[in-house]
Symmetry: D2
Subunit: 266 residues, 4 copies
């Protein structure tokens, strides 16, 4: 089987700006994620950061990506709208997208959700307990009843997202809140997984169960099908049932026969 081509995108700002963060992720969050995924030999893993040419994601690399991971926090607004357009298009065509932590507020996640994606938060180093609510889901494979994080940033409800198609995790916080911390959606032919733990001030991506979830999520999000063959005009002479055109028209040229557009089985 062809290796799964995974690209980890990280804005890579806080790790270079705050000494405390640098101690946790000396080579950046993207490298920590890379090291945990690389144990899976069926993957080909690349990293990309905001400060690179074309914001780390030139067309050729994006074309060559099966699953994209996204971590951003301080510089969401710097991401170019054209890049967001291209990523959205790729996801609709089948590319998987794994959005991590503060990536909930990234342009690309907001674009694909259609909502504000806001939430409540508190940075107090409190306890988070990530409960598995869907033990039959492959993203929860290998986990126990819950994951315990001694220090985490609180993310709380209401989380302004469309109803997830599948809810995999709900988090409990020491300060008293709850949060839908693992959610999935399909958009076009692509799969999206949002996973909230991962505040950069704590070593969350070094936790083996968190690594397991992200690995599972990448596998789950792998492309499964083809892009919808739309938009597309079906000419009258190509209607599945024989038709005679009737009535007025507002579509220029709609009366001319068109080349075949129908897709056969393979």
């Amino acid at each position: 089987m062809r290796p799964l081509r995974v690209t980890i995108w990280n804005e890579h700002i806080h790790e270079r700006k705050h000494e405390a963060i640098a101690k946790i992720y000396p080579r950046g969050i993207h490298h920590a994620l890379r090291e945990s995924l690389i144990k899976d030999t069926g993957m080909e893993i690349r990293t990309a950061t905001l400060d690179q040419s074309e914001q780390g994601l030139p067309k050729a690399l994006l074309e060559d990506t099966d699953v994209l991971l996204w971590w951003g926090h301080a510089a969401h607004e710097q991401v170019a709208d054209e890049l967001v357009d291209r990523i959205q298009e790729k996801v609709l065509g089948g590319m998987g997208l794994v959005v991590l932590h503060s990536g909930h507020y990234s342009k690309v996640f907001k674009r694909l959700m259609g909502t504000g994606c806001g939430l409540c938060w508190r940075e107090a180093g409190e306890r988070e307990r990530v409960w598995v609510v869907n033990p039959g889901h492959p993203i929860a494979a290998g986990l126990g009843d819950c994951i315990e994080l001694e220090q985490s940033e609180m993310y709380g409800e209401p989380f302004e997202i469309p109803t997830p198609e599948e809810l995999v995790f709900i988090s409990w916080f020491g300060g008293g809140e709850v949060f839908r911390s693992g959610c999935t959606w399909t958009r076009g032919s692509g799969r999206i997984f949002y996973f909230s733990p991962g505040h950069e001030a704590y070593p969350i991506y070094h936790h083996p169960d968190i690594q397991k979830v992200i690995l599972n999520g990448v596998h789950w999000a792998r492309p499964r099908g083809i892009k919808a063959n739309v938009p597309r005009e079906v000419p009258v002479n190509e209607a599945p049932e024989k038709l005679q055109r009737k009535g007025p028209s507002v579509h220029d040229g709609a009366r001319q026969p068109k080349a075949a557009t129908r897709r056969p089985s393979s």
Copy 2:
């Protein structure tokens, strides 16, 4: 009960450009829709068109709208992005949105769906049969098993939308295709209803059952709740459970107590 404030937006181009369309809708599609809704005395109905000042939807009018209807076809790209931002914000805050026919490709619908919203089409004046698949849904109230339209534009699958929360209608076309012609979603606190019949070349909005669906859809989409109170930082001293702050921080000022933000019951 306060009247429901309904605003019907129409780009109003084809009715002025094509003689055949002008015969069907001499005062524009928005007026035909208005005349069918106005029988409901509990509504206050306004119309708006693209050529008006502020594209027909100045802030004050949008603020004053409970349910917005949207009809566009030829000029989607002319609608200002700032207006789309404002409409999205209003929907997330609770305003209902009823998107009609070619409005599937409008900026505002694509923004709220997060997908391409493409489909197949054919303008051949063929028969459409709109089947009720959810007879328990209030949008289908008063309908029989199906609505028959002798002449319609074919809209066909795959329709590139997120899975509808509720599917109310599926259409059958004489040329051999099918289409999810009545779909609902919730985005934030707002409800969205998409209804596909309504090609301007045929007198579809004069059909009593089509009028019934749109009236039902407007009622269904009326605001029901309040906007989510996010994004919002919950200060440590305001955590529901008593907390002591621990660990490093990347949020400037996160250590300072904040004013109360919690919302009480009414």
Copy 3:
């Protein structure tokens, strides 16, 4: 408007068996629920208990019910299967159903869900905080960010239910767990609302916000449409498009014309 006909069913066992419970609900949980709903003058409220004739729900009463509330705990197995059949049939035809607390394990809820409906629990009188995750939902109308219950029974995940169509509440527990405490589904033409707070050992149904939720839930669950007109054979001579019968048959009598079965619009 015709009053909404509400029937509150309660197995009424623990209130008569345990002195501590009797102090909280001297006339039974059904009477406490009745007293809180009766403030709404648009309702006609009846109560029913397991020890009554026909287990409290003779056909005529069920026929006459728009929304049924269900509270049971110790005697789920005593409820007759025939009664469960009738309730299921009524819900599919449009009757609303509000299932409370330990009713998650009732025959009627399990029948309508198709799953085991199991969960984790702990009776320790710990704190529960019921968070609103969907402030736009009418069931959350009038609530603040959350409801705080000083003493509650813990109900924890995984809750073995089909994915709710709408998730309205998620609960936080002092002991460390979370739970999807307010969930909705549609089954046939009927609406179902499950709400978990309500352990009989604590005065939960006397809490004004809990009463508000149940009142909202009853309104939300009111019948909205008609029963699906199935199962039903559509005779060949009644097909919407003209058809000629071809091929062999396994349906006895399928070749004979049948009486018209199609439902017209009203």
Copy 4:
């Protein structure tokens, strides 16, 4: 990789009773399905029929099944309730279930759906066109835009099922109806796929694209996770957060410490 253990259950009545059906499926529908699946070398395929001992599904065989296919039509009522209980339990624990054609009215499908599962039908040998509405779904892999069946039984809406989690196919019929012909649900940890084409009077299971769908469906339905670890009492001394028991109790023995029940990560 361990082979996928697939069991094909067929009531096997019409093929022995009607000569015309016997010509199409001389060894029964289960054998035709078996022959099309067996090309996939990663599967171990068994067949089972109603007339066998224990109705073809003794406990050991069911225990040893990853995905169960179900075809029934004339004898739904003969299937033992105890067998339905066991199949439901297996599905909730993770076994996949593929329900074919008239199996929509089987006890097992109705049990897992919680609804009546009725529909409209007409046996006229008319044309069916099965449209792919979700080309990104693995069940549609390898298909063109639609599958055309020259002769089929019409199944029409409203189909009395809970809203499918994913809608893969919608069918068009020559007689004028539509139908949600390919639907998926999750129940507990198990996946369910319903696929409607397959009336025994026409050679539908010999169609290569229909065979492709069923093969895809079996792969899609393979077990993915573990059963939920419920129902389960969590003793007070095992609460994740330290708790002190308070208040009265209705649970006998709830005050005694219990053995550890929590599931660790693997």
